[in-house]
Symmetry: C2
Subunit: 600 residues, 2 copies
């Protein structure tokens, strides 16, 4: 079984590597007839071959050097292609792909990504430390280097505003650092307003990381918060939406992770932020690229390799861009002696690229796991039969009450309702008050004002709360859509036009222990089951991708104007202007709770 631990620790094998590099012992793999992309010098070196031993790079040598050593294996012919280090993704949430870490590895390796720094913030919000530890075990069994950036902001707000499953106190965060060597940093400190304002709990969490010498990852919007955020000891961000804030952040001492994603989404901030380099003349040595979140289907099209190529599209040199995608992330986390370059003694996490930086092959720890853009049989076997199985408790996280009423009573007199107005790209949601006359059905109001119901059902078995709201311009014409992924507390969101279909959507999610569903006229039209913590499928990456793709078609056909990932943000009460949680409507950043219905 290929995992991160298949390659022996360096301290146990320096003598062997010295023997191989000196030609006293044969390599066990030679990759020949290659150019080498050096992330150290940002050059492409001609006429090279690489000698591997037990999953590490023993030496990079001039082409043909193997002939002088007896017992050397026949070289693998790289066909004059470019050998480069596997990509290093410095910031991702595996849960966004709705698959397990073991499954995620398949897509990552196809994209040439061999290392990820994952913030398991979502499963932490549902299952607290337990969920994070399950995912760490999942990660340890995956054929991928998966490091943890310990979730720092669980819950995202306070119990006053939302019921979450997790509560990662400073003490629990410290325990994760102490218990898991792969917990190399504190994950994105996303409550940047609280950090800037000096909130006690936020800074106590920062202290847990800083006093252990662990870097702190961040997430900040708004140039006005940069100074205090950086002063608090936070040293990276992936949320630089334009060149000016990118420049501010870089100068304040933060590493910048340029985030790329499907160009139609707000995830694709790279083209603007990279102008800090291409237009403002900043150096690229403290700039990386990352993916952050990726739908399962997009993972195959818009992986970190794609993001890296986008940096070339934006005007950077290929060697520079690939360094940003590999060595720089490794350096940010102090792992450049192990990862991010083809230096001697490093892990043999190597990709073979064509001249357009497209990944042809991937060697993970010296093992050929992707060849000609396809998973090799050895990895195929493992992925099919040896993925980590989450414990039974992970499959029992949808805990809702009986006989819930999912729609509000019809107002009996003229009134004003506080609605949530959807608009693309779907991050910000707008507060709009709508005046309702007397009508004999909600359907009348829905048609008149382009409204539908939006209901949040607490699902952690805590409060049993249900909150009713109205969603404007969402476009859903009939039936209901629902999701057990509802950032960040992951209560169940149901949008719908009638009680019966909303009930069916909720029941379908409950029966499947989680999922996303489209229902119409008493029939389930599409479902992706997410039984693990109500967040993750337990299937393989291509299966989840295929299911997601089909689901999105049905979703769009139902008329939904917000993409699925935007829909899941409806309860995220840290983004303006108005949100709905299981505690009801709340405006952001004022954090004022509002009733759904007010007198006219």
């Amino acid at each position: 079984m290929i995992t991160r631990f298949t390659v022996p620790e360096l301290h146990t094998m320096t003598r062997d590597l010295a023997d191989v590099a000196s030609g006293r012992r044969p390599a066990d793999v030679v990759i020949g007839n290659a150019r080498v992309l050096s992330t150290y010098s940002e050059r492409i070196l001609e006429g090279k071959e690489i000698w591997l031993y037990k999953g590490r790079i023993a030496a990079v040598k001039p082409a043909g050097s193997h002939r002088a050593v007896s017992g050397m294996p026949q070289p693998y012919d790289a066909g004059s292609g470019i050998l480069a280090p596997g990509l290093v993704d410095p910031h991702i949430h595996i849960e966004s792909s709705m698959m397990t870490a073991c499954a995620y590895a398949e897509a990552a390796l196809l994209n040439g990504t061999t290392t990820i720094f994952c913030d398991s913030h979502e499963i932490g919000n549902v299952c607290d430390s337990d969920g994070i530890e399950w995912m760490l075990e999942d990660a340890r069994q995956a054929p991928l280097n998966i490091f943890l950036t310990v979730p720092s902001t669980v819950p995202a707000t306070t119990p006053e505003f939302e019921t979450a499953g997790g509560d990662l106190t400073p003490h629990k965060i410290g325990a994760l650092f102490d218990g898991y060597p792969e917990a190399v940093a504190l994950g994105e400190k996303m409550d940047f307003v609280q950090v800037a304002m000096g909130d006690t709990r936020s800074h106590a969490i920062l202290a847990e990381a800083l006093q252990r010498g662990k870097p702190v990852c961040g997430h900040v919007y708004g140039r006005e918060f940069v100074a205090a955020f950086a002063a608090s000891g936070i040293t990276d961000t992936h949320e630089a939406i334009d060149k000016d804030i990118a420049d501010d952040l870089l100068e304040a001492g933060l590493w910048i992770f340029l985030r790329g994603g499907p160009p139609t989404t707000p995830w694709h901030s790279l083209p603007e932020a990279i102008k800090t380099i291409t237009e403002l003349g900043a150096h690229s040595k403290r700039v990386c690229v990352c993916t952050d979140d990726r739908d399962a289907d997009d993972l195959f099209l818009f992986g970190l390799d794609w993001v890296t190529r986008q940096a070339v599209v934006a005007g950077l040199q290929p060697e520079q861009a690939w360094s940003m995608g590999s060595l720089h992330g490794a350096t940010r986390y102090h792992l450049d002696a192990e990862l991010g370059g083809l230096g001697h003694s490093r892990r043999a996490d190597i990709v073979l690229l064509n001249d357009d930086l497209e990944v042809q092959n991937t060697w993970y720890g010296g093992e050929l796991v992707v060849e000609d853009k396809k998973i090799t049989p050895v990895l195929e076997q493992q992925l099919e039969h040896q993925r980590y199985t989450y414990p039974a408790a992970a499959y029992r996280t949808i805990r809702i009450g009986q006989d819930l009423t999912l729609t509000p009573p019809l107002p009996e007199r003229a009134c004003v309702v506080n609605t949530i107005k959807a608009a693309l790209p779907g991050i910000t949601l707008f507060h709009e008050q709508v005046s309702l006359d007397i009508a004999d059905s909600w359907q009348h109001h829905f048609t008149a004002h382009d409204l539908c119901f939006v209901t949040i059902v607490e699902r952690h078995g805590k409060s049993g709360a249900v909150a009713h709201g109205l969603l404007k311009n969402f476009g859903l014409r009939s039936g209901a859509v629902a999701s057990s992924v509802g950032h960040d507390a992951h209560n169940i969101i149901i949008a719908g036009t009638n009680e019966a279909d909303m009930q069916l959507a909720l029941k379908t999610i409950a029966d499947n222990h989680g999922g996303v569903v489209v229902v119409d006229a008493g029939e389930v039209k599409s479902l992706v089951a997410l039984p693990v913590a109500g967040l993750l499928s337990d299937k393989r990456a291509p299966v989840v991708a295929e299911e997601t793709l089909r689901f999105k078609d049905v979703w769009r056909a139902a008329g939904c104007t917000l993409p699925y990932m935007g829909f899941n943000l409806i309860p995220l009460s840290v983004i303006p202007e108005i949100r709905i949680t299981d505690k009801g409507l709340v405006t952001v950043p004022e954090m004022a709770q509002l009733p759904l219905v007010e007198p006219a």
Copy 2:
């Protein structure tokens, strides 16, 4: 008292810094009317001011911003100069300056150096772990950030070839890592042949560092050793003598420290090695500058600031060069969140530069310690009265026998002698066989062949050994010179023309518990007393510099062709071609022991 610990640890003060950066609390120092050299973006930023709080940078703001915050102090006027981070020297041996760490700090701060990574290899060779721990205590009381790279190669060879005071076993090295958080790396692994050949002890020492996740510093000569050296997990070197080996080392995954020093010495390899950047097109992001060794007097003229400016002379941009002198070293040791740039939350180790990168002022931990190129009164007081005092045991390290005979018997018949031929620059010493006829005195031979005696006296109280040799072309006309600094075992070296003066030189060293001395006709002509471990003066930097300068004049006047620092390398039995230790003559790298006199 100003030390590294005067600035509170970051985790204790993030809330305060957020308050200051947000303008909710006044800074305690503002440095205004400045440009800022950004090591993050490699640009000079116009119109800035820096807000400090309790020794850290709270924020870098647009000039004049302090006016909007009540209670702010009057800004210190930087006169439109350039504020830059204090320099970071990634590799030095304090002992080379023949002063204590507390004394060294004075010169360093005048040079704008606020952090050094020191390898206390010499005191380790004399006093084993005890000496390293004394120097660590000295370092903790110094007004300078002093980190330890744990000496890795003590003794430099084996007891078969030399008697050393120290024997740093893998176990002792592990204990130093575990006992001292400032032990951030393994110091230069200089036995590169043994490393490349897979020597058991050498690799056991590497493992002590690697298994603790500590970087390993190196030192390697010869392109043929690079592959195996790098494969052994070593990730830096300061010994790149030309662009080709620098390029090899960089591509093998090592950080390169370009070493600069007095241009007449072999220490100044920067101008050749930097061509890997200026001619071969390598990127500079993994390149630093360092000083390695520096005589006390040279320390004031050829500090790290001078080395950094030499990178500009070689064609680099000033911002790029200063980054190589600060941020890059901090990054190499994973301390870039604390050092090496003017990012928010960093230590306020700041220099004020003119446009030629000459250091005008230095703030150490927010305290103005150098102003207009002079030590400020607060630091003057501390340096004069509060330097660390080494324990009594450190003053008792010259332990030699009684009634030693320092010169060999005059051969009674024609013979061949194996001599050590000196030649500039003084690193390599050449093996020359000289035929001697019968003569009635050594003086006859000396005149005929430009010879003098060279004698090594074991001084650790172990073997009591004395070894006799002959030095050719050293130029000493009369009297004797001697030193208790004799790399790396630091036995006493005495060169001389007669027994009486050599005895006086030895006695003078013994009486002073160590030193370097020039004697002639029964009179001590010059002496620098080095009572601490026989390696260090206990005086202040300018005093040691002045004494050294005067000593060098007398040394040269005596006719000595090798500079003092080269003389001290005579016993260093890891450099070709021939050396003399307390065990006698040995050829390198063959490690063949030779008699002084052979039959004709």
